[in-house]
């Protein structure tokens, strides 16, 4: 395995939450490498630490112990500002609850990450339109999030995750709030982005069918990797 192809390197990551007197050990030592262009599905029962791991991978949180490298840089040592920069340039998020800005158009929602990368307004619009086209919403740019179906909202969220050409898209239960058919359509979008555009994608899911489209599946239990397929 060529180390140049490694996008993510996790070395014995742990995360412990202090809740009052007790310590909650959400992650108890995760070591794993993810290569560029991978499509990884993470599965596991509720409370097993999937979201905690996603947050660390997404630079929203830092591990309690262990080292985390993204694109060859040890981001576990970065400060808040640097992490914000990484989230902006390298990572796209898709959430279970869509997390679009209310009363805001699809276009403006998609442009949001570009605002924080100081992309000139004109370019931002062009990039956002392109991202919306990639998820099949080319003529919906002026629709507000409240005027769209769940599936459409999630597509906007994917367009927003795509718009900064990230190395990595993280999706924590992206179909959790969608019906099966729409969920499958969203999964097809991820699959296509991975195949055709070579974007590395990590998905958390409960759906065994969904995990079937992934090349790799990681099962987590009690903060540890149980099996890898």
């Amino acid at each position: 395995m060529n180390s140049n192809n490694v996008l993510i390197k996790m070395e014995d990551l742990t995360k412990t939450y202090q809740v009052g007197e007790t310590q909650v050990r959400a992650l108890r030592g995760i070591s794993y490498d993810i290569r560029k262009g991978d499509l990884l599905a993470i599965m596991g029962p509720s409370g097993s630490g999937k979201s905690t791991l996603m947050n660390i991978i997404g630079c929203l949180d830092k591990p309690t112990n262990g080292r985390y490298f993204l694109d060859g840089k040890e981001v576990s040592t970065f400060n808040k500002n640097q992490l914000a920069g990484i989230r902006n340039n390298k990572i796209g998020f898709v959430f279970q609850t869509f997390n679009l800005l209310a009363r805001t158009t699809a276009l403006e929602n998609t442009e949001l990450p570009l605002l924080y990368s100081n992309t000139p307004t004109r370019d931002a619009k062009k990039l956002a339109m392109k991202a919306l086209a990639q998820v099949g919403l080319e003529d919906r740019e002026l629709h507000k999030s409240s005027q769209m179906s769940g599936g459409e909202r999630q597509r906007v969220a994917i367009a927003r995750a795509l718009v900064n050409s990230p190395s990595l898209i993280l999706a924590d239960e992206p179909t959790g709030n969608l019906d099966t058919k729409t969920g499958n359509e969203i999964m097809a979008v991820f699959k296509r982005l991975n195949r055709e555009n070579g974007i590395t994608i990590i998905l958390v899911t409960h759906d065994p069918e969904v995990s079937a489209i992934a090349e790799k599946v990681m099962h987590i239990r009690d903060g540890l990797i149980e099996t890898l397929e």
């Binding site: 914000a84 920069g85 997390n99």
Partner: protein, 405 residues
């Protein structure tokens, strides 16, 4: 992120909640409006006072009975009856920095002309009064030295009295009765053009001071002397000369206190404009309190807004917004709100100051300084009261913010 874009985003956020934004800004609108209107009243009073004093002439001096210091026991300066016609004449003769004097004896009287009745101020003055006070005769003539010497029963009407008694008819040569004594009208004074205010200078009748002494009051002394110095530069010199002459005439021992009091116009004007400056500060200060309250209103709403938008803050942070970006976003909203409020407040303030001057018959002066100050104050209120909520927003943890329900 550049400033224009930040402002645009702030405007968008504020326009999502138009009614609330307006109500929040209302505190600032009223505050700025009140500051501008109140200060304009204060500055109007100042301008009015200064105008009156400069009209009266800055080389004017007043001599009154009474000690210069207000210590000791005496029933007010006017209780002295030691100023005489001879004193006034000695001033004119012996002080070479003085060119005109007018002995004054003032009173009030009931005036009757045909079936009309009017109560007004009677100014008994010398014949040079119009020159000293820079006040022209409109029709006819002021009384002459001869009229004064022989205590003639002639009078000159102020325009208000003229209007009230004669209603546009020619008053010259008519006989009016002043406390039942007949006086012949020989002239009218030019209007000073004031209505309302503290006192109306056109509501007055001039008669020779000798006539006032003999016919109206039955006294021998005079109440005051108006003195005109040759020039403004020489008014201090004139003052010293007057003091010297009167001390000799009143036989005041060296080191003893004067039994009279000489003041010049610029001292009086200074005192008066100081008083109006204090009025301005007072009015402006009271109005600023409402601006402060408006600022607290902004802080309150911004805190509510931050709480309501925790999820949005989380979304923005996950998309790469740094602490600074969130801080600026909320701070800009507060500043935009307060500056827009400030601009509307300026309109309100300027408008109401014009209404006040129109309907309440007061002079108001809106100066650039007061507008600029109120506006800067409003913007600072936005920064000051917007900072805490904005900082609170920027310090949120992205994961907690995203999870917030």
């Amino acid at each position: 992120m550049n400033i224009l874009r930040t402002i645009k985003i702030a405007l968008k956020a504020l326009s999502r909640n138009k009614m609330r934004s307006f109500l929040t800004a209302l505190g600032i609108i009223i505050g700025v409006g009140a500051v501008i209107a109140m200060v304009s009243i204060g500055q109007g009073a100042k301008a009015e006072v200064e105008k009156r004093f400069s009209e009266m002439g800055t080389n004017l001096l007043f001599v009154r009975p009474g000690s210069r210091s207000y210590r000791g026991r005496h029933g007010g300066s006017s209780s002295y009856e030691n100023l005489t016609e001879a004193d006034a004449e000695a001033i004119l003769e012996n002080c070479d920095a003085v060119n005109y004097i007018s002995p004054n004896v003032n009173s009030r009287a009931q005036i009757i002309y045909q079936n009309k009745n009017w109560n007004t101020s009677i100014y008994g003055t010398g014949h040079d009064y119009p020159i000293i006070r820079n006040w022209e005769v409109e029709e006819g003539e002021f009384f002459s030295e001869q009229h004064v010497k022989s205590a003639q029963k002639v009078c000159i009407l102020g325009s208000e009295v003229n209007q009230n008694l004669f209603e546009g008819a020619n008053p010259l040569g008519q006989i009016i009765r002043m406390n039942k004594i007949p006086f012949r009208v020989i002239g009218t004074m030019e209007s000073k053009g004031e209505s309302g205010g503290w006192f109306n200078r056109d509501d007055v009748i001039f008669i020779p001071y000798t006539t006032a002494q003999m016919r109206l009051l039955g006294i021998n002394h005079i109440q005051s002397v108006d003195v005109s110095a040759i020039s403004m530069d020489r008014s201090a010199e004139a003052m010293a000369q007057i003091e010297e002459v009167l001390r000799i005439r009143h036989k005041i021992a060296p080191g003893a206190e004067d039994d009279f009091n000489v003041r010049n116009m610029s001292d009086i004007a200074e005192g008066a404009s100081e008083a109006t400056a204090i009025l301005t500060i007072l009015l402006g200060g009271i109005a600023s309190i409402s601006l402060l309250v408006g600022g607290i209103g902004i802080m309150n709403i911004m805190l509510v807004s931050v709480t309501e938008r925790i999820r949005e803050i989380g979304i923005r942070m996950s998309m790469g917004a740094r602490e600074k970006d969130i801080l600026y976003q909320f701070l800009t909203e507060a500043i935009v709100l307060s500056t827009l409020g400030g601009l509307l407040g300026i309109t309100l303030g300027v408008g109401s100051s014009q209404l006040i001057s129109h309907f309440a018959d007061m002079t108001t002066v809106v100066s650039f300084g007061s507008v600029a100050l109120a506006f800067i104050f409003a913007a600072s209120v936005g920064i000051f009261f917007g900072f805490y909520p904005a900082r609170k927003a920027s310090k949120l943890d992205p994961i907690d913010a995203l999870r917030y329900e």
